[in-house]
Symmetry: C2
Subunit: 160 residues, 2 copies
């Protein structure tokens, strides 16, 4: 895993170790996201990705996982979990450019976090074999995928 | 990691390998969930957990992660990601008791999945040092925690 070793920005705080070097459980990626975005030019979030047309987004599963899609249908909404593991994992307090001051990693959606599992709610457009076409992604082409779950109102949003 | 080695139920399909044995990235847990639930008696989902009073739920972070909470406040909603790694990870098609037939793992919120990262939207009740009190959990006491993220409407639910 490549690491960004830039010095901390003003106001940043770091852990005294790299979480990547102290693994307690392992992920086995189920596939990759395909998109028109490249590293460094991908939209900052899913809302901006939709504004930019979605990025021709799809999830290409490893072929052996195709049976696990049974029951998902076009028009349905899923939670897509993906791995943003190229960012550093030891930042506790960050200073994003959009924020007015330092903020804790757990109060941010930054890809730089101890366990860089990103998530977003996307719509299924079509399913062909092991490929799931989705309405949008903010992930660059080749981003590893961790999980797909059906979006469920009583679990994934604040109760009314 | 303990494995449930029960034979498949009728209609189940399995991978030819255990994803746990083919890790491509590592998780370092940031803490554990504390609750009144024990393995085997925990509510099946967050809605049922709320109906049962929430379970005296809180997240106990490892102390070194406390600074990463800066900016989170009581009353705010978070996405809590946690590890249900005691279930088997090789099920592609499952037959849950509540369903009328077999369904793909990615169409279910079952804890048995290739990468058992569960998630739910919960409200912050209070924060004391490295402990975050939350309104409810369906996780049993001691469940490892993967991440905390602020819930964001434009990312975590279908657009209006």
């Amino acid at each position: 895993m490549e690491r960004d070793l830039k010095p901390p920005r003003d106001g940043e705080e770091r852990l005294g170790y790299d979480p990547a070097a102290q693994a307690e459980a392992g992920l086995h990626f189920i596939g990759v996201i395909r998109s028109d975005w490249r590293e460094g030019t991908a939209p900052k979030n899913l809302r901006l990705a939709r504004e930019q047309g979605g990025g021709n987004a799809r999830v290409e599963l490893k072929p052996e996982f195709a049976p696990a899609l049974k029951g998902l249908e076009p028009g349905g909404w899923i939670m897509l979990l993906y791995w943003t593991g190229e960012a550093r994992r030891d930042l506790l307090v960050q200073r994003p450019r959009h924020a007015d001051g330092p903020r804790g990693t757990f109060a941010l959606r930054s890809p730089a976090r101890p366990n860089p599992v990103a998530l977003g709610c996307v719509r299924i457009e079509a399913i062909e074999d092991a490929t799931v076409h989705i309405d949008a992604t903010d992930a660059f082409d080749g981003t590893p995928v961790v999980d797909i779950k059906p979006w469920i109102e009583t679990v994934d949003r604040p109760p009314e």
